[in-house]
Symmetry: C2
Subunit: 491 residues, 2 copies
């Protein structure tokens, strides 16, 4: 009885979040500029309502009573996820939540103009406030959860993951990744790569994007593709709203973005229907989410067999040109080059960007690094990891990401965890279904069915470690990722 | 203090309604079919929340305390409109509200297939339940408000309007309208009218629609144009979402629909910004709303001076053809012909459709007509008013409208009240600014400024009678409408 009362309560919350997701999507894609102030007010009221729903004082009693009830395993997992949502919403004092949200908004807003101005000095005082309040929040969470400060934040994005796991994992990864980057670059030196010649009219890019989404099994009865300045995968799992942006001179940016977001989208569309309105029916973690988008973008879309299928689609929409030859596409989309910007990084150098940020944000939160020393650390790590001199270039250095400006410390590891999970899934799938080449060429649906069966339909019914173990047959391990990279880039 | 507490409470309600309006628009324009069930659930939860906001038990005390406060006239009007919204939401017992909503949904849903099947017998039992529950609601409202049953429903759509006003008004209108229809048809007999030859590609129709919206001063910083099966004007006043539907063979349907909805939209966009989130900042009534859409569609868009401006726009988008000559457009868009379908009716016969429905719905609610006798009454009035034999054709007869299926009795008079208001405004505007011909040709902005100054910016700060008296210099009177019709159709 209490369980069903709880379920009903959280379903109502989900309905409110549905309205917020659609109106947020609308704000980014459809809304005329003059509508923004009213929208912000409406969404602000909604956020308060959602918060109030999670602060309901009856919840404590309902949880206590539900623990006594006889529940099946699904309901038990559901109860645990409701409890997690409740805990995360009620753990911090309201004053701190408000102060942090305010400082984050202020810092993020200023960042939008300070970054292009390369103004670290202007950013620092605002960022110091964000760090101070985030440390305070981390300390409160750490106390309540019995975790270290940084782990207590990591728990928000990748439940169950700990610094004690990440430290050796990333050390191992670093150990072979940095030499591998050099090796790949050496091999690629002098390799002929033909860049496709534009322009690529937007109507054609959109039609190509829709073709590729169809090839990847996106369900257009439960979602759509639109345009926004910052691409995202939003909406709700019954109605996934995917966005991209088009550049007439560059066909790859929108295309690879669409493929990446389609990975997120299929995970959302595949979440367990029976649990859809409850926390347990949501995606397991940010890392698992990223594993799906990366699987689509890296394992699938940059695979020679996929590029062989992409080539005629490119020709259909933009006419024939030598750059569209499958071999050239394969060289083009696996080009490795260290750069300053994370979001522009290739598959091989990307983890270096993430490990650099992990080092810094962990030490910021644990009090081992002060914000004013961030640039030196950044420059040092960039030199160590990618051999780049970034001194003085804050814009393309430590000011490049939005995450820290609003205090989202603990998020960055998800990107590389996603890459590791994806590589483990690739190996397991290959063992069970045969080579990816054949599947992509002849039966891509089998790949998606496998992902559905092993990841999507489980929502949050299992914890991440268990989900990964059952899907891949092993615990978290960077070796499959190493094999994936060696095979693709040195094979 | 209590006033501001109330204002804050109603602002929150407005924010929720904002989310509902945008998600409702999305449902009709953007949502893939598979998203509907989840959306319906989310909107259902929102409707409950809005209802709960209006049922808040603290409201009675706040209203009582606010009455004692020293308020300026705007705040007093605002308080009265909040009170009206509260009263309408709390007046009926919850059981009755629920039963009525259920019966209405059931009847409306069945109607969607019964109408095309011409199945009056299948419709009748469902409709009888809707009528019975609507009578019950009307009786409860009538008791509480000291009004007749029908007036208590009319009050929902056209506050202040009474049957005692409508009866003689419509009798007077009927007295000259029916002969006028004959006179116009006699005059138009044999008049050459050239129908435009299609197809009219949808991209061109949309571009034409945007041109015309620009000409009519629609503010695209606070609104947009999209497509839906049933055109409407939705969204919120800061972000008005107007829709249309396109038929490749018929350029007038979408165009005139867009112009009509643009009238609604400009009223919404012009509502007083200072009161936007409160009931007093909303449109005054359904009749006043319709007066603005009809002013745009009839007074402006079918005016020869407007059609002279439209003609080159048509040519720009679809090439030249004789039917686009201004004289031909004027004859085409003022063609009078009695027909069975209200929504297809011309400006002259339209009020006959409305008066017929008024007679019927008033007698249904006052208990002077039983649902089973509706078709005979319908056929009789159709014969009397428009000389049409509609016996047995329920589909294009008493089953044609959606309004009664969900119990929206009392709405129909708004259409013709809107036409009368519009004609009064036209005369007043002409007296103050000079002939409409010149204004349309040279300075249409002056027309919109006048409407803004006299109608839009007043929101619900004045009651309808006072708004009309101040704007037009006179009380409600059908004579200006008669002069408008005689001048346009017999002049």
């Amino acid at each position: 009885m209490s369980y069903s009362t709880l379920a009903n309560h959280f379903e109502q919350l989900h309905h409110l979040q549905h309205l917020g997701a659609i109106c947020g999507w609308d704000q980014a894609t459809m809304m005329p500029p003059g509508g923004n102030e009213a929208r912000a007010n409406a969404l602000g009221t909604l956020a308060e309502l959602c918060h109030r729903q999670l602060q309901d004082e009856r919840l404590a009693d309902w949880f206590a009573a539900a623990e006594e009830e006889s529940l099946n395993p699904g309901q038990q997992a559901s109860l645990a996820e409701m409890r997690r949502a409740w805990r995360d919403a009620t753990l911090l004092p309201a004053d701190l939540v408000r102060a942090r949200s305010l400082a984050g908004s202020r810092c993020e807003h200023a960042w939008r103009s300070l970054r292009p101005a390369n103004d670290w000095a202007g950013f620092l005082p605002l960022f110091e406030e964000v760090v101070a309040l985030s440390r305070e929040a981390a300390a409160a969470r750490a106390d309540a959860l019995g975790l270290s400060r940084y782990d207590s934040l990591l728990e928000l994005y990748e439940p169950g993951m700990r610094g004690a796991t990440l430290d050796p994992l990333f050390a191992q990864l670093r150990g072979w990744l940095l030499p591998l980057i050099d090796e790949v670059r050496e091999k690629q030196r002098g390799e002929p790569v033909l860049p496709p010649a534009g322009p690529f009219p937007i109507a054609g890019q959109k039609a190509l994007g829709l073709d590729v989404m169809n090839l990847l099994g996106f369900d257009f009865n439960h979602g759509r593709l639109d345009v926004s300045v910052h691409p995202f995968c939003g909406g709700v799992s019954e109605d996934v709203r995917l966005t991209t942006r088009y550049d007439e001179q560059d066909v790859a940016q929108a295309l690879m973005g669409i493929i990446h977001e389609t990975g997120h989208a299929r995970y959302e569309q595949g979440l367990p229907a029976a649990w859809r309105a409850l926390p347990v029916g949501q995606a397991r973690s940010m890392g698992v989410h990223e594993s799906q988008s990366l699987f689509f973008e890296m394992q699938l879309a940059r695979h020679p067999a996929f590029l062989a299928r992409l080539s005629p689609l490119l020709e259909r929409h933009f006419g024939s040109q030598p750059a569209f030859a499958p071999d050239n596409l394969a060289r083009l989309y696996t080009r490795v080059e260290p750069g300053r910007i994370r979001v522009d990084a290739d598959e091989v150098t990307y983890p270096a960007h993430v490990m650099l940020r992990y080092d810094i944000e962990r030490d910021l939160m644990e009090g081992r690094l002060e914000p004013r020393h961030l640039p030196e650390r950044w420059d040092q790590l960039m030199q160590d990891y990618l051999g780049l001199d970034t001194r003085g270039d804050y814009r393309n250095g430590c000011l490049q990401d939005i995450h820290w400006t609003d205090g989202s410390f603990g998020y960055f590891p998800s990107y590389t965890l996603g890459a590791l999970y994806a590589a483990q899934l690739e190996e397991a799938l290959g063992r069970q279904l045969g080579p990816l080449d054949d599947l992509i060429g002849q039966d891509p649906g089998a790949i998606f069915d496998w992902l559905d069966q092993h990841i999507w339909r489980h929502g949050s019914l299992l914890d991440t470690a268990e989900l990964l173990r059952r899907a891949s047959g092993q615990a978290l391990d960077p070796e499959p990722f190493r094999r994936h990279l060696r095979q693709r880039y040195l094979g």
